[in-house]
């Protein structure tokens, strides 16, 4: 993975820069190599790089001063939450300051009447729910890393989870942010009200992978927990039958709170690991969770049961207690570590496809697996088409990591080919950066970068992420008008 060339001038000034930053954040500058090691990678641990310096600010004013300093001195910044990114979003650069937001760990306000919470970005996703659940509330997006990942990181990546079909992604649950721009200016976007006048910059900041600014405060919507929730465990003899059942449930007007699918290898790995009671004689397993008032859940459980039986389900079990429901989920939620037990290494992909293409995509994936001589297990957010193939490999065998990466890239190209996208919830980061051309034209990517230039004209914030080629903003901004006319090169066709 090629990263932007380190700036030798910045590297030469490392000790001066560290001293200057220490003046701005007296107790929060790390330069010792052993301590820097903690920050050398995120959840995509195949890529590692020691940061030049780590800064751990604890106030917005400190973030503002650090950014302004870096802006004035041409120093790059890599923002970092908990470092759980699966796409290398927080991968350090040799000549950059990694800005760790862990000290922003306070819940500032819980506003029950306006049904929102104001929190600092280093608060974990689960801590928000923990802070409001005594009054029956929760924060809806639930990425599987929710015990560790921070809300600031969730904002940067627009994180999802198993409940987004019904409750939306981070972007649908964030009402406002305070953000520091690279020049040190502090802006507030949104608040406790919705749809403010002006451009929806908040909407574009969510999911911007640390390329636009550093978020220092987040206002999130909190929801009242449903009265009750039950899950159905449904086994099918084929992926096609499971796919048909998913389509039929949705066609019947039912939007489950969660609708997850696992293929044969994933079922087996999960069952061996957590003993959730999954049937092992099926090719596909659906977990369908319904929530709401008891009367509604009862009613919908019955309807879903009838639908899946019409679509060839061979195993149907409804949870009768919360413990049983949790057990159904335990296998799915532990699918990654479960796969980790049967393979020295695995590589988790994250494409999204139109749901009905699933059987075809799985069949082509099996062909690719044969070609690369690697095994693959699939877990799938069936409700919204988000596919997580887990490619099994052994990094100690020469060439297997490269084969796994090539296999993964082929899967993502396949997702795009059938009408889907490269990443559903893990982000582009460095991992999918060089595949962006499979989905976007050069004109598309240039326009995205022009948007970035409005925030960060010198490409100091998280450079080397998301975009395969960095264009200078001055070059991107040029408009070549001659003789009263724009030249009109070949327009991209769709």
């Amino acid at each position: 993975m090629r990263m932007p060339d380190p700036d030798s001038g910045v590297l030469a000034r490392r000790s001066t820069i560290a001293a200057d930053l220490r003046a701005l954040v007296p107790d929060g500058v790390i330069t010792d190599e052993d301590e820097l090691r903690t920050y050398e990678c995120d959840g995509l641990s195949a890529y590692r790089q020691l940061p030049m310096i780590v800064v751990l600010p604890s106030t917005t004013a400190q973030v503002s001063r650090v950014l302004k300093y870096c802006h004035d001195n041409g120093v790059k910044i890599v923002p970092r939450g908990a470092g759980t990114s699966l796409s290398g979003g927080a991968l350090p650069l040799a000549d950059a300051v990694t800005l760790g937001m862990a000290r922003f760990n306070r819940i500032l306000e819980i506003d029950w009447d306006n049904r929102c919470a104001v929190v600092q970005p280093g608060v974990t996703n689960l801590a928000i729910t923990n802070a409001v659940q005594h009054r029956g509330f929760y924060y809806a997006p639930d990425p599987s890393s929710q015990i560790a990942c921070t809300i600031g990181g969730n904002v940067a990546e627009n994180s999802g989870g198993v409940h987004c079909l019904k409750y939306g992604l981070t972007t649908n649950n964030v009402l406002g942010v305070e953000m520091v721009l690279i020049n040190g200016e502090v802006v507030r976007l949104g608040g406790k009200h919705v749809d403010p006048d002006g451009y929806d910059l908040l909407g574009a900041v969510v999911g911007s992978e640390g390329l636009l600014g550093v978020v220092t405060e987040v206002t999130v919507r909190i929801l009242k927990s449903p009265e009750t929730a039950r899950a159905l465990l449904i086994g099918f003899p084929s992926n096609e039958a499971a796919g048909d059942a998913v389509a039929a449930i949705i066609a019947a007007g039912i939007i489950p709170a969660g609708l997850e699918m696992m293929d044969g290898p994933a079922i087996k790995a999960a069952e061996d690991f957590v003993h959730a009671g999954y049937p092992l004689d099926v090719e596909a397993l659906l977990i369908c969770e319904l929530d709401g008032p008891e009367a509604e859940v009862e009613h919908l459980i019955g309807r879903v049961q009838a639908i899946v039986e019409d679509n060839g389900a061979v195993h149907v079990r409804a949870s009768t207690t919360d413990e049983e429901r949790a057990l159904f989920w335990a296998g799915r939620k532990n699918a990654f570590p479960a796969v980790g037990r049967i393979s020295p290494d695995y590589y988790c992909m994250d494409g999204t496809i139109p749901r009905r293409r699933l059987p075809e995509v799985l069949a082509r994936m099996a062909q690719l697996a044969a070609h690369y001589q690697l095994r693959v297990a699939n877990v799938f957010h069936a409700g919204d088409g988000n596919l997580h193939p887990l490619i099994l490999f052994d990094a100690n065998r020469p060439g297997e990591l490269e084969a796994a990466e090539a296999f993964g890239a082929d899967i993502l190209r396949l997702c795009v080919e059938v009408g889907g996208v490269l990443t559903g919830e893990h982000g582009v980061g460095v991992e999918k950066r060089d595949l962006m051309g499979a989905m976007f034209s050069e004109v598309d990517l240039q326009q995205q970068q022009r948007f970035k230039c409005a925030f960060d004209p010198d490409h100091l914030l998280n450079p080397g992420k998301v975009f395969p080629t960095l264009h200078r903003c001055a070059e991107l901004g040029k408009l070549h008008v001659s003789g009263g006319k724009l030249p009109f090169p070949d327009l991209p066709r769709f």
């Binding site: 919705v194 749809d195 451009y199 929806d200 949705i250 009613h299 999204t352 409005a454 991209p492």
Partner: protein, 402 residues
């Protein structure tokens, strides 16, 4: 005024290139139904997008549709209704509010204005339902962003940026958006005779319950008479639940007990509910001869206090939607249209106030959209530069200088 009606994306790009080259700003129109929303655009030419019409893709089981930006919203809603689906954010029809006929808008205009109805509470606004788009920028370049699947974090979410940008950044040609099932049943629990503060308190409690309220409005006595089935009832506070029948029956009963602590109650069935919420959605209760209509987005629990604050300075009639978070306010104010009083009150609690309906000369003088703090406005201006450096698209529609 000259009208250009491109038939293809290439022709559209040529028209914009010509506008850039000759520095001739364009007024961008889908179907023109919301032309009176925003600051008047001074442009020599109208760019008419009605040729970009038609549904390219509709897969009910995938919950997705792709359509040309100029497609009439009415056509889309009819297609969706055939499959018992809908735009979940409850697309309002501002036609009559803006002094025109109903049912004229385009899907592109709906998203460009980022509108939403009472279900904003639970389902979000247009911005939350757009999945991707194709457009031609003010640089005369065709580009796309997003996709046609719900879960997508590939690149910046420019779809959200387009929603609510009123055609000032790029000309949308095609949009993909989510569609969702129509709920089987709807019930509305009504409480009568509450004042604003009691009503906001009652709606807050309902919204804090686990009953998945998807609409919460309060019509004071002065406007309740104009609402369906509202005549003679005095002030009316309405809370909506939707879903399968056993569910709505259970939740309506629970909410009736809850609201019963605030006043006398009644329950509307599906048909009466639909009529009431359509009226709330389209601001029908204020469609009198009011010269000005303001739309205030504020923290919901602050709704009643904001109204009381303004009432000390300005006469108006009003009603609440979104549990108090949306205040519609009709006034005959002259001078600055009440902008100073309205916006000061809104600024005290945090929010924005939009002058949705006003004569053209007023909209040319009084900022239609809430003024933004300096750093945010400068950022917005740089975003405008990134998409439309010569300001040829809907120049000044949102803010002077954008």
């Amino acid at each position: 005024m000259e009208t250009v009606r491109p038939q293809t994306e290439e022709q559209l790009a040529e028209a914009i290139a010509e506008a850039v080259g000759s520095e001739t700003p364009l007024e961008v129109l889908g179907r023109g139904s919301k032309r009176a929303l925003g600051r008047p655009v001074k442009a020599a030419r109208v760019l008419d997008l009605s040729a970009f019409a038609g549904v390219d893709l509709y897969e009910p089981q995938e919950l997705v549709m792709t359509a040309g930006a100029g497609t009439p919203l009415a056509d889309i809603e009819a297609m969706l209704a055939e499959n018992r689906q809908q735009l979940l954010f409850e697309a309002p029809d501002y036609g009559p509010l803006l002094g025109g006929p109903p049912g004229q808008g385009s899907i592109g205009g709906l998203f460009a204005a980022n509108l939403s109805g009472p279900r904003r509470l639970s389902a979000g606004a247009a911005r939350d339902h757009i999945l991707g788009f194709q457009a031609v920028s003010g640089r005369a370049e065709a580009f796309k962003s997003g996709g046609r699947v719900v879960k997508n974090v590939t690149g910046f979410d420019l779809s959200k940026l387009m929603a609510g940008s009123f055609g000032t950044l790029a000309v949308l040609t095609r949009l993909s958006f989510k569609v969702m099932p129509v709920p089987e049943e709807t019930r509305t629990v009504l409480a009568f005779g509450l004042d604003d503060a009691q009503a906001v308190a009652a709606m807050t409690e309902a919204l804090q319950s686990s009953h998945e309220v998807s609409g919460a409005a309060h019509l004071p006595a002065a406007v309740a008479a104009a609402a369906p089935a509202g005549a003679g009832a005095g002030a009316m506070t309405a809370v909506r639940v939707e879903g399968p029948e056993p569910s709505v029956v259970h939740r309506a009963a629970a909410l009736q007990r809850l609201l019963g602590r605030f006043g006398d109650t009644a329950v509307f069935d599906t048909a009466d509910s639909l009529a009431l919420w359509r009226a709330v959605r389209d601001v029908a209760p204020l469609l009198s001869d009011a010269r000005l209509v303001w739309r205030l987005s504020v923290p919901p629990a602050a709704g009643a206090a904001v109204v009381a604050d303004i009432a000390a300075r300005l006469p108006f009639t009003h009603f609440f939607d979104r549990g108090g978070g949306l205040v519609w306010l009709a006034s005959q104010a002259v001078g600055d249209a009440g902008a100073t009083d309205v916006r000061n009150a809104v600024d005290r609690v945090g929010g924005t106030a939009t002058l949705v309906r006003a004569p053209e000369d007023v909209r040319a003088q009084v900022p239609v959209f809430h003024p933004q703090p300096g750093p945010v406005f400068r950022l917005a201006a740089r975003v405008k530069e990134a998409f439309d450096p010569r300001h040829v698209l809907n120049r000044g529609r949102m803010y002077s200088g954008l």
